[in-house]
Symmetry: C2
Subunit: 342 residues, 2 copies
Amino acid sequence: MKLKEAKTLKDLAKVTGFTESTISRTLNGIGTKYRISTETQKKIIDAANEANFKFNENARGLRLKKTMTVGFIVPDISNSFFAKMASLIEREARLHKYAVFLCDSDNSTEVEKASINLLQKRKVDGIIVCPIGLESKHLQKLYQETPLVLVDRYFPKIPLPFVTSDDGLDSYKVVQHLISKGHSKIACIQGVENTSQNNMRVKGYKNALQDNGLAFDSKFLMGNSFSEKNGYYAAQQIIAMPKKKRPTAIFSLSSIITLGILKSFTEAGLKVPLDFSIVSFDEQEYSALLATPLTTIGQPKEEMGTKAFQLLRNQMESKTKLHQEGMLLPTRLNFRDSIKAL
Amino acid sequence: MKLKEAKTLKDLAKVTGFTESTISRTLNGIGTKYRISTETQKKIIDAANEANFKFNENARGLRLKKTMTVGFIVPDISNSFFAKMASLIEREARLHKYAVFLCDSDNSTEVEKASINLLQKRKVDGIIVCPIGLESKHLQKLYQETPLVLVDRYFPKIPLPFVTSDDGLDSYKVVQHLISKGHSKIACIQGVENTSQNNMRVKGYKNALQDNGLAFDSKFLMGNSFSEKNGYYAAQQIIAMPKKKRPTAIFSLSSIITLGILKSFTEAGLKVPLDFSIVSFDEQEYSALLATPLTTIGQPKEEMGTKAFQLLRNQMESKTKLHQEGMLLPTRLNFRDSIKAL
DNA sequence: AATTGGAATGAAATCGCTTTTTTAAGCAGC
DNA sequence: GCTGCTTAAAAAAGCGATTTCATTCCAATT
């Protein structure tokens, strides 16, 4: 065996004449602790460098029962909201020597479950999941076995650690703002009903109406998914309403929905805020550059990613379950030109 | 040991009274081939289900020398261009039972190298990388050892498999279009110089100028990174030029750069296409909805992701190196209102 | 002279799985 | 009664690490 071909500790042992244990200790930096002479250590380290030796992390993981890997499950990684979070989770993981498995649950609870299964088979040390949000049993079960943190969406009544933004507050504020500008017929185009984030936003919307003496009109709470199509069709419905009865303002619960709404308006030749005022959740790089700069509620995606990994790391490294409720980070309101005073 | 606590083959062996080999064979679906009686198999399968048994894929990977994992290295996952590709790579991988390690190289060749190292230690079966693009030696070395496919950026003179888009053609066409509309002073705001994609685009730009009898003016080839800042500052420079000498049209080599340009214009109170005509690389969901709907050259990101994984799978499963040059997929020109006829 | 103790390594078990090699039992054939 | 063939399953080796427990050598102590 030539030195340059040494791929494993065994190979290195054969070539250098020392045993696997000695080499393992040396390369793991605990040689001195085990009284391996400086001379021997130098020989081993030189040989390892020469051979461009790399540990097999799978074998280590097997032996150590710690793989230094985590999983991140998202509904749709092509959505820039999740991509931004992924970016910071990956970075944080990298800085702490963890590798990240990316799983796209494709907006399906079934795929989400399959992804969890996959990650467990791979013995990840922890999992961050942005759940679809309609079911939680499988997540509770998961939490019995593996460190877990939820991001963005969570389950208010279920004790699982989470990091998300406190969407209700600015939802309330922005709807109040619309009202103060003279709007009384305000539509809300929502995403997936009964998910935590949707609920918080809708609650803010309803409370603002109520506190200002406006009746909630269920016709004006529209839509059913965080998709462009949803916004597109809801906007068409709104356009089709009799002019006197239709809303003058729209509160859109996600940037993707907003794109659909805007597309619909563009096709119909309608202008913002001339024909409709718009407020949208989720600030994007382009929000200020659209035909009409949008008033938005921005979420701290980056911070959410960072914090989520930190919470996960706490669990992974302390081996204790966190029974804290989780973290609610503040959102940020960006006022722009998409609101008309009536 | 209780059945429900059985986590390993050994545990299952203890509980059922059969040996690990028999159980392994049964659960891997090759029991019959090894003449394990139907009765025994049923007992084993029932026990495994009852225990909710999951194979340890790390141990399997170690033994089989095949981990069913791949790595995907991108310069910046928060960039929606790469996120879209990631989405399809993940999907394709999932359908073929591979798990995906996501590595963000943070636009740094050093991190790219570290990521490769990490993936090799984890014994991935293959790697897809969108390289930073200035260095290729480490990739050539990698290709000696691991199946590899490059996406988006590649190295024209180096025989590594790649999938990318043929950006020169539409670059040429769109610049020609600008010229036909009367523009003769056309700036090009580029990304990272000497990367394949940048080169192709610039080449298209220069060729179009030349073929139309226009001299290439190096003052008009500006910028140095695929970032918003780059677009922002380049646009400021353009604005600062004496009005008679400054370009009337801008060819931006990425959507991120374009956002910077638009921000700059907005701040200066300049309008597209009134003050400047713009053409941008990379179609986005919002391209048609901006203050002025943009003329763009769209790349087939999804197809690139899919094809990249397919090419990788070919290598992983045939164990033969591909010495084909790679794939160049066509781009798509979307004409919109951001060009003024002079 | 025998024992002790520290320094420098080595041997062997183990992690959870797959696979090659063996074994054991039952029955047919001579 | 022995050989030889099936059938059914067990035993053991090995993947590449880590770690507990030994071993060897030699100087110092009793």
